[in-house]
Symmetry: C2
Subunit: 228 residues, 2 copies
DNA sequence: TCCACATTTCGATTATAGTTGTAGTGTCTA
DNA sequence: TAGACACTACAACTATAATCGAAATGTGGA
């Protein structure tokens, strides 16, 4: 009877808050692990795994196995385009548009991306470290140069500890607002933690944005030559 | 926390078979009544009403009240575009693509649209009746001319009975495959029924398509000057 | 006025999907 | 090899959405 029966199948997969959050999280084009996605959607890993298997079954998401990690990404650009058209017709309620637009602004400026810095600040920092010769860009990773090792150590990071962590040390992470790569991995995490410890940045309540303090402005200028 | 929380809201509305059927039915751009849509989705009017109220609430569908009827249509072109992108990423299974394409072909040729004729046959018929001066086009309706009254009566239709029916007599219906209007309403229904009675058309099993018989080819040529 | 009809509202039932705890598999590192 | 960790499979519970019958509302026509 119905020639287009499976329109609903795809929409069904998008029509659930947890899955929608997972999918929008994947819209940055990066690979994400199941744990990351669970964290972002505020659900347990089991639930995330359950949803991810459904998304894979529905050909919206791909997996790549790397060791004990499983990296998930959107299946193709078509899916991303569909998601974007959804964002287009699901406008934020008028009432809180002012608050929201300022929140988006804050997020674009500087935010945490899982466990490292993203947004303009994250991208600028990475750029600066590349220019200074502390990092070099590989295909999917950044490599710390000898000069960089010296710098990070002087700055107060223990690279040995960071390298011992059971996760990638310094991979590249694509920024949805800036469309540039920024530093992720345990080095990215270590740097961000240190910025928090130094009081250069503070968390903005209830959203993922972070704010650079006055102390931070001076610090970022001196250490990384960045004007915030 | 999440800046784009209501992506899921829209998808949720599409992610259910009955609602998806309703929405795809509305993709022809026409207004449809709740009963029509219930019929198409094979659900009771109560259920259809339930879903339609949700669709209206979600700004995917509009209503216009005309008397005791309520005419539903897609809220805007944006929604139609989203639906089309869905059709794009929910491809029919490869296995039955051949069968499907031939089915689509049949549907484009001639089909029933709720209770009257649509497709190329429906549009050609309407065109022919306009050219012959049996009908005149109004904004949303067709009007039967005196010449037309004579013709329809000679052809074997009882216009008095048709006019007494508690529904619109002869409104214009937009064709999704032909992008032209065709005749609907009780007159459209009466004509189609008569074609069936005369043995000019027969139902194609399991889909909404109809087939013109050899007898019908002669009949349509003589009465309406149409080459099928 | 009364009746027929289109549609909605309400209430109850049924089905199903989302969630999580527990347990298990596989992989990496010390 | 042991233990930490990422992830999945299974099973049970819970929440919620879809469905429909019955009844109500509103409209048009006789």
């Amino acid at each position: 009877m119905n020639i287009n029966p499976n329109v609903a199948e795809v929409a069904f997969l998008l029509g659930e808050t947890s899955r929608a959050t997972i999918l929008t999280s994947l819209m940055d084009g990066r690979f994400h692990t199941a744990s990351e996605l669970a964290f972002m959607a505020a659900i347990t890993p089991q639930t995330a795994s359950f949803h991810l298997s459904k998304l894979i079954e529905g050909n919206l998401v791909n997996v790549e196995k790397h060791g004990r990690h499983r990296y998930f990404q959107l299946a193709n650009g078509e899916v991303a385009r569909i998601l974007e058209s959804f964002l287009a017709i699901s406008p934020p309620p008028e009432v809180r548009s002012l608050k929201q637009s300022s929140q988006v602004k804050l997020l674009r400026e500087a935010r945490t991306c899982y466990d490292h810095l993203a947004g303009k600040l994250g991208v600028d920092l990475t750029e600066s470290m590349l220019n200074a010769g502390y990092l070099e860009k590989e295909v999917r990773d950044f490599v710390v140069t000898p000069k960089g090792e010296q710098f990070f150590t002087d700055f107060g990071l223990d690279l040995c500890i960071l390298k011992r962590k059971r996760r990638s040390f310094s991979h590249a992470c694509l920024d949805w607002s800036e469309r540039h790569h920024h530093l992720a991995g345990s080095l990215g995490h270590g740097l961000m933690t240190h910025f928090f410890e130094l009081g250069w940045i503070i968390q903005v309540p209830s959203i993922r944005a972070v704010k650079v303090t006055d102390k931070g402005k001076v610090g970022f200028k001196q250490a990384f030559n960045i004007n915030v």
